[in-house]
Symmetry: C2
Subunit: 393 residues, 2 copies
């Protein structure tokens, strides 16, 4: 009945959100979400900081703030990005956004005209794909191999399409595949973006959640030309509900993003920005991250050992070095829709792979399991139930 704009007319709510309605069934176990583990939330620290903030100068965060963000938080993050990840040249600027999601949406609004294209991993983070779709941008998918994007496919795609404006990638523990891109491929991606004059949008929400292996340099750390927009987030290392993320990008890009953000929401909730800054500076942030990595590592290993025992060799899957997800592929003789329905009937839900793909006809034989949100007991029980369904099929 209402005449919506072309860009939003066909937009659908996230499949995951729709899926989540199922999961309110009492007793159901959900491997579908991507919430941080409640065990990792630093309740006591945040409670103390909040009490201190309201007791000292509440007007400072109850009034309007600057669009580019709370200066002490920007400086703290900028320094950490440099010290811990060697990211950030003199020509770069760090600004605060309302969650990494906003940084991604604004980058698309800033660089893509309608009909332009973005090349990305297929499958990828559904929130980003939907943001790109909301600007009528064409999505060009590149397969994900065990060490990241298929570079030949990427180059072919860049060669073939002259309307590509952004190269979107999640190099660390990619959502949903759990894959980490090798250093060689990161270098190759950077060189190709440079050669084909495309900006890289590097999304790194899970970077700090590495529980096995060694850090691999972010693509942003290779950025001598100023072609990488790096997006980071507090959602997995502090709190998702506070909606605080950040963008490290060349000054001209960051300044334009500030102007566009001003129209979007004026500035990010100021209480949350001060809270994050105080936590980083007054508490042991690196120690908190180390604890959190242990928790996620334990939960991932638990799920993997349950899968090893229960799935046998019928389902293939990777062993991620970090992040929140395990990506599984069903054998050809199992009908994925039937499998998914039977699991739901048994009381376990997860996200079918094609819901996370560029086209619903891709990744139909895959599904994504999350190990951060469920309790240890739910992991054991839930994988047990999936295993029983597999055996009966």
């Amino acid at each position: 009945m209402y005449a919506f704009s072309n860009r939003v007319e066909t937009l659908k709510p996230s499949a995951i959100r729709e899926r989540m309605k199922f999961m309110s069934k009492p007793g159901a176990i959900s491997f579908a979400q991507g919430n941080p583990s409640p065990e990792t939330l630093p309740y006591e620290a945040l409670k103390s900081i909040s009490a201190y903030m309201f007791g000292s100068n509440p007007a400072s965060f109850l009034q309007y703030g600057l669009t580019e963000g709370y200066t002490p938080l920007r400086l703290t993050l900028r320094e950490r990005m440099q010290r811990r990840f060697s990211c950030g040249e003199d020509f770069d600027e760090l600004i605060i956004v309302s969650g990494a999601q906003q940084g991604i949406e604004l980058a698309c609004k800033m660089f893509c005209n309608e009909g332009d294209a973005i090349v990305c991993e297929n499958p990828s983070f559904i929130g980003s794909l939907n943001a790109f779709r909301s600007y009528n941008v064409q999505l060009l998918g590149v397969d994900v191999e065990p060490d990241g994007m298929n570079i030949e496919q990427l180059e072919e795609t860049l060669k073939k399409h002259s309307n590509i404006k952004l190269l979107y990638t999640i190099p660390n523990f990619q959502n949903p595949t759990g894959v980490t891109m090798s250093l060689e491929k990161r270098k190759a991606v950077y060189e190709l973006a440079k050669r084909y004059n495309v900006m890289i949008l590097e999304d790194n929400p899970y970077g700090e959640v590495r529980f096995h292996g060694e850090d691999i340099p972010n693509i942003k750390s290779l950025d001598t030309e100023g072609i990488v927009i790096y997006v980071g987030s507090f959602s997995k290392v502090l709190s998702a509900g506070i909606r605080v993320g950040y963008v490290l990008a060349p000054l001209e890009v960051a300044q334009k993003m500030v102007v566009v953000k001003q129209s979007a929401d004026v500035h990010t909730n100021l209480f949350a920005q001060v809270l994050a800054e105080r936590f980083m500076n007054d508490y042991n942030f690196d120690g908190h991250i180390a604890e959190l990595q242990k928790i996620y590592g334990r939960k991932c290993d638990l799920m993997l050992s349950c899968m090893e025992e229960g799935f046998g060799d019928r389902v293939s899957y990777n062993k991620p070095e970090g992040g929140l997800f395990i990506w599984c592929t069903l054998p050809g003789d199992i009908d994925p829709a039937r499998f998914s329905t039977q699991c739901a009937a048994a009381g376990v839900t997860f996200i079918p792979g094609n819901m996370l793909a560029i086209s619903p006809t891709d990744c139909t034989d895959a599904f994504r399991l999350n190990f951060s949100t469920p309790s240890d007991q739910q992991i054991v029980e839930g994988i047990g139930k999936i295993s029983a369904v597999l055996k009966a099929l």
Copy 2:
């Protein structure tokens, strides 16, 4: 150097923000901002609520929330909109947004293709005008008379342009003119929107800040057809820094806005939503508003009496019944640029009218004064300084 999209290429930072850099001059008095008065912030109540929240169930607001908002806040606002303003039919839905600014930006994204037009008061709220510009939307201005939009001009504009998708209006204590639209004109605006098949975007950030006269029904209360998108805000009645606003719109529009918001920032900061809900339900919200109205009324009357004494009859201005602003017009023999520069040199800043107009060649003889942010003493001193500049010119 960077190839930005057409829609953001020419976007400029808000003139007010640029202006604010001047105002950091020590001792300068600013009538330029639109901050709520610090006297109106309920520090103690928010401190207690915050302590209670962190002491009871912090996981509930530190984890991801629903895109459409925190349900108890939605219900509370919905009920209040109905009880206090007779707004909201059965076909309407209320959702939470990250400040009214986000509701306005999303409405534009949802209804306007590039090249479409929005008709609005001229001058108007710069944040909204910039949001519309960020989608390459054509702005069609209608003059503001002492009782609101010039209805003849509005009808002519609607007749002439077939690409108008939204009619944007601030009926109560309009920013920047301070004008309140009469009930007759509200009805006429509604009828014209209906006849010309245009959605109304009713922006009401100041509605509760009425300190003289009687409430006039919102346009949304006339909306039997489902053509009004109403945008409300906590910025002027609780805190601007929390970035919480709300949209009351027909279900289909609200649902589409939820999908588009999901791509924009997933959801609004959850702590702020719970804080607002607790304040509304556990404290005397109506009493708080009544106190706040008294404070704004006192400050407005103080500024007006200083102006009456100091400006003489050289400057003409309205006497607003609410809101945050007084709109002034200079006589033809005063050069506005010279006036503005001399006031700044004397230590007082304000916003020149043409910075708030659709074109910088409009409203060149006007300027906007804010009375909510400065202290009473600053009001007396600042108006004194402007008066001295006027006398010397």
